[in-house]
Symmetry: C2
Subunit: 407 residues, 2 copies
């Protein structure tokens, strides 16, 4: 039950990168050959790399290992290896062993050193990691390495996703046209700070090593950290960016702002796809918070609205229940003047400076809330900062997915 | 769909207090005569009083007014007036006027000064407050004032509650036996910091004025602030305590600890009744968090578990999904060592110091999660502090209640 999943145009290949996938039955041996579940992304040259990881204190071993690898050599990464079907989390002492074995298998398959490989796992928590099957799958994935294989990889990293998510951008700087291609997965446990989501972005643009990590953090804060499905954050969330600078050495970009803009647009597009595929989501709601004292305040208020079960069920019920929205804003913890708040839904003014607008009629609000996609605009009247958060509704389908099946 | 609502024994009358109710059709004129919706609690003597109110930044006018009244004269309160059916919130400038009119009406009906009356309103947000009907009802309520009317009051403050909630305790100190009787309402929007709930407690015990407010805060933190239905906090939540000391002047209690203990037990009982009546709740789950560095850490972890949609849907689905519980603990923001955590369900050891217990079998956990009531025990292994949180599950019924009806 995805909300208007767009028909995606094919992803662009990125010079110097090849992608391979295989089906090895990670989740269970019977699934071997039925769905792709391991992915290998290989760069022909060493890449500058950056990563943003889950803020959950339970961080799966693959997250800890990828962080350690990046802090040891963020200028020298050659590959990313990923599997779906098993998160390799919550399995105690074996987690670390299996995580290293996954990296080793990817390194052997790609023909590079283990110290130059990042890994990510997603799927069931608390089930032994089938490392033998995955090692076999990794060799098969290496045989399929191809520059045009991004779509297959977008499929292979899925778990409960109902559609594969990818996107591409190009940006021209100083006469060079660079490509950015990203894939992402995620549909439940989606919340700021990277929720059961994986996203990998590759580019041939030569971004300076010291710029890459802070840039990716900023971009994550305006894309993946601006979405919420259910307010839960997983143990394995990972966003990785590889910048190869192939053909140009690593002479830094003269206009890294233009690159960051393209990266932000791409990540917002991927993040929105995740909301559209949110578990049980039947509506796609954009929450624009303006007039905040700080961007952080704006984002906090947006998330408070996006995570309130009462607001989300009102979305589901097409009920323009502005009282619940006000209450959620009041619960955000942000300092506000309740008499200064204005609220619009797709341009219909509901509240103006704390008062119901005299011309507002409930039927107008209801008509907006019945749409599959609409925008709430909250003006806090406290300053000039703003933020946008994207979310879905809370439906019977969400309960069915999460109460009736083990994920 | 309440979870095992206990058959409550009749509340005890409290010397010096009389209670009256009436039906005036607060929510709509057609309801007049059909359900009681205004309540008046009157003390024969001036009371020491304390209040704990919503932390939502949108605080209804009645909350602001009650706070102002308490800060002006917390040693001299004579009455509480309450209505159900309309929260008198989100209605802009008229809110303040109507709130004062409600207090004035209660004061006239009780024959006391307005400055000695606390008020509370609960119900729909954003609908004009029908002050004329309520004023008429208040006079009718005054005519029914009676020491044995607590049950009627417990009914009259309900909104979506499926049963009325009350409780009594006695405590004997220095040969005097004192009575505490409380009533409460609340079923949705229930979360720490007082969520759409009202609770009023009256006692003839003479608690020193300067003790009362800090005591009520401590008690609230261990009772009403330890429950969660949906993580939402309303604009009107109010807990008020009146201590008359009737017949004893206000000579302070020699053993206020014994009184506080009785008050805590009473408030926990009322708080648990609210969870049992939570919107759509089909299970009553006790979350004991032990081994925390501080009591606040323990409570934060308990709430993180109690508010995770993935944990709550696992409760609903009778799925002993300990991975989701670990993930919720990791999201709590509390500093923990993930290798130190142990987890039990009704005595079945699931995890021991970060590892699945070798003897644990999934069927055992499933058997516990199928119960209508069970206890999760989380040992953080970080210290000696503990806290208990009570919560329910997240069900289809919750979605139905909140998506299909305007509340």
């Amino acid at each position: 039950m995805a909300v208007n999943p767009p028909k995606l145009t094919p992803p662009l290949s990125v010079p110097g990168f090849r992608v391979g996938t295989a089906s090895c039955g990670v989740k269970s041996p019977e699934l071997k050959g039925k769905r792709q579940d391991v992915t290998l992304i290989v760069s022909d040259v060493p890449c500058h790399a950056a990563g943003v990881f889950t803020q959950n204190r339970f961080r799966a071993a693959c997250v800890k290992l990828a962080e350690a690898t990046l802090s040891a050599s963020a200028t020298d990464i050659r590959a990313i290896v990923a599997n779906a079907g098993n998160a390799n989390a919550g399995t105690g002492e074996m987690e670390r062993v299996w995580s290293q074995q996954l990296v080793d298998a990817g390194a052997r398959a790609a023909g590079v050193e283990s110290a130059k490989v990042l890994s990510a796992s997603t799927g069931v928590i608390g089930t032994p990691f089938p490392i033998e099957r995955i090692e076999a799958g990794m060799h098969e994935a290496a045989e399929s390495l191809d520059a045009d294989n991004w779509t297959a990889a977008a499929h292979a990293i899925r778990t409960t996703d109902t559609f594969a998510k990818w996107g591409s951008r190009t940006v021209t700087i100083d006469g060079h046209t660079y490509t950015l291609t990203g894939i992402a997965k995620g549909s439940g446990m989606i919340h700021p700070n990277m929720a059961t989501m994986l996203a990998f972005v590759a580019t041939d643009a030569p971004v300076a090593a010291h710029d890459l990590q802070p840039m990716l953090r900023r971009v994550a804060d305006r894309s993946f950290n601006c979405i919420s499905v259910d307010g839960d954050t997983s143990t394995n969330d990972t966003l990785c960016l590889l910048s190869s600078g192939i053909g140009l050495g690593h002479a830094p970009l003269t206009d890294s702002m233009a690159f960051e803009q393209a990266l932000t647009e791409l990540c917002i597009e991927l993040a929105q796809l995740i909301v559209r595929d949110g578990e049980g989501v039947s509506k796609f709601v954009t929450i624009d918070v303006t007039g905040a004292a700080t961007e952080e305040d704006a984002r906090t208020v947006g998330h408070a609205i996006a995570t309130s079960p009462l607001v989300k069920t009102a979305f589901a019920g097409s009920d323009a229940n502005w009282g619940r929205i006000l209450s959620a804003i009041g619960n955000s913890g942000v300092s506000i003047d309740t008499d200064g708040i204005s609220l619009k839904a797709d341009g219909i003014v509901m509240l103006e400076r704390g008062n119901l607008h005299p011309d507002y009629r409930d039927e107008e609000g209801m008509a907006v809330f019945q749409r599959e996609e609409f925008t709430l605009t909250v003006d806090l009247g406290m300053g000039e900062a703003s933020a946008t958060v994207w979310t879905g509704d809370l439906t019977h389908e969400y309960i069915t997915i999460n109460a009736e099946y083990r994920t």
